[in-house]
Symmetry: C2
Subunit: 215 residues, 2 copies
């Protein structure tokens, strides 16, 4: 292994280490809420020392923000990017809705914390640096929501979706999906097919409400 | 005024006093979150002393639970009772959905805290007495959700609603509506007509997805 390959392997290790810390933090925040979680709790779930956590993150708030940012990345990567594909708008939207529903289940700790993040943001009381980071996270969320707004607008232009208040409907649509993090907890022995069935049921409902060919 | 009338007036005053404390608590919890709110904050919003708050409630947790219970009462009274009226199921459901949407806006502090209450409940870490109260609140919520399950089941039996997984759809429907407490904040000069327009848009969307006569 030459020096740059070694350096690269080191970078990969570092990225893996960071991802493991972040996963543990997401689980800790989900379990006990932001206020009640300590760096010790995160280290405990990680099966490591506090030093390991502090190697990657300098504070609980930084961990919280990065969990939030990672959830936004998951959404944009897993569902938002579908908006840019070349297909009829209603088909793209249907796949985006299903993908978002599944993301809520398969990445539950991250997505759950993302919902808690909204709370924290609304509650205010942060430092200037934290507010800057929060603003960046809000921008990521807005960009993600905009993908849904765009695709629904295209669906209306294509005649597949009835004329409606796009922003209001996107709030309802994403609210119904984000609410999954409130009621969903994986069951013993649950399979991908079980999750797919739940996502399909919600998707059918939420897409049907948009169709033009309705009463 | 005879003695019983005076006693009754006293009871009314006490109920009004209690309602005012509860309203202040709901606003304080909404503004700062449960953890960051003190009895002092509630007294401050009320424009009264801590003693006034303690006259009605012995702890912050008790206040929180009563805010939650009041929000459940508002929902059952304002929307849930429509389920028992004599009318086609889809008509009743449509009025329940619109009423729930409007309740989220007009009683925002209570309803917002009710959503936060879910968080606290999920996070665990309460005393046995608090867990008993939480279980009662969860029973109230379940009874309320059951009204929606019943009416949709009746709508399917009447042939107006397509066959679907009723519990899953109720979760989507109420999630879309409860999410209002995340994005909605009253605007300067907003009117009842503005709120009605938002509620109507969401209601149309959420009811259309259920109709039998769809693709």
């Amino acid at each position: 292994m030459d020096r740059s390959a070694r350096a690269e392997a080191g970078e990969d290790d570092k990225a893996d280490g960071r991802a493991a810390v972040l996963e543990a933090a997401a689980r800790a925040f989900m379990q006990d809420g932001y206020a009640a979680t300590s760096i010790d709790d995160v280290a405990g779930l990680l099966g490591a020392t506090k030093g390991r956590v502090y190697y990657y993150y300098r504070s609980k708030a930084d961990l919280f923000f990065d969990v939030h940012r990672e959830s936004m990345r998951q959404n944009m990567e897993g569902a938002g990017r579908i908006a840019l594909e070349d297909a009829p708008a209603l088909d793209r939207l249907e796949r985006m809705v299903r993908a978002h529903a599944l993301l809520m289940m398969t990445h539950l700790p991250f997505q759950r914390v993302s919902v808690l993040g909204v709370e924290m943001h609304l509650a205010g009381s942060t430092t200037p640096r934290q507010r800057k980071t929060l603003n960046e996270i809000v921008e990521l969320r807005d960009a993600y929501e905009q993908r849904f707004v765009d695709v629904i607008s295209q669906g209306i232009a294509e005649g597949a979706i009835r004329p409606l208040d796009v922003k209001m409907v996107v709030r309802g649509l994403l609210g119904a999906l984000n609410w999954i993090t409130v009621w969903y907890r994986p069951r013993e022995g649950e399979t991908d097919a079980d999750r797919a069935r739940m996502a399909d049921e919600l998707t059918t409902y939420l897409i049907n409400g948009l169709r033009r060919d309705e009463a």
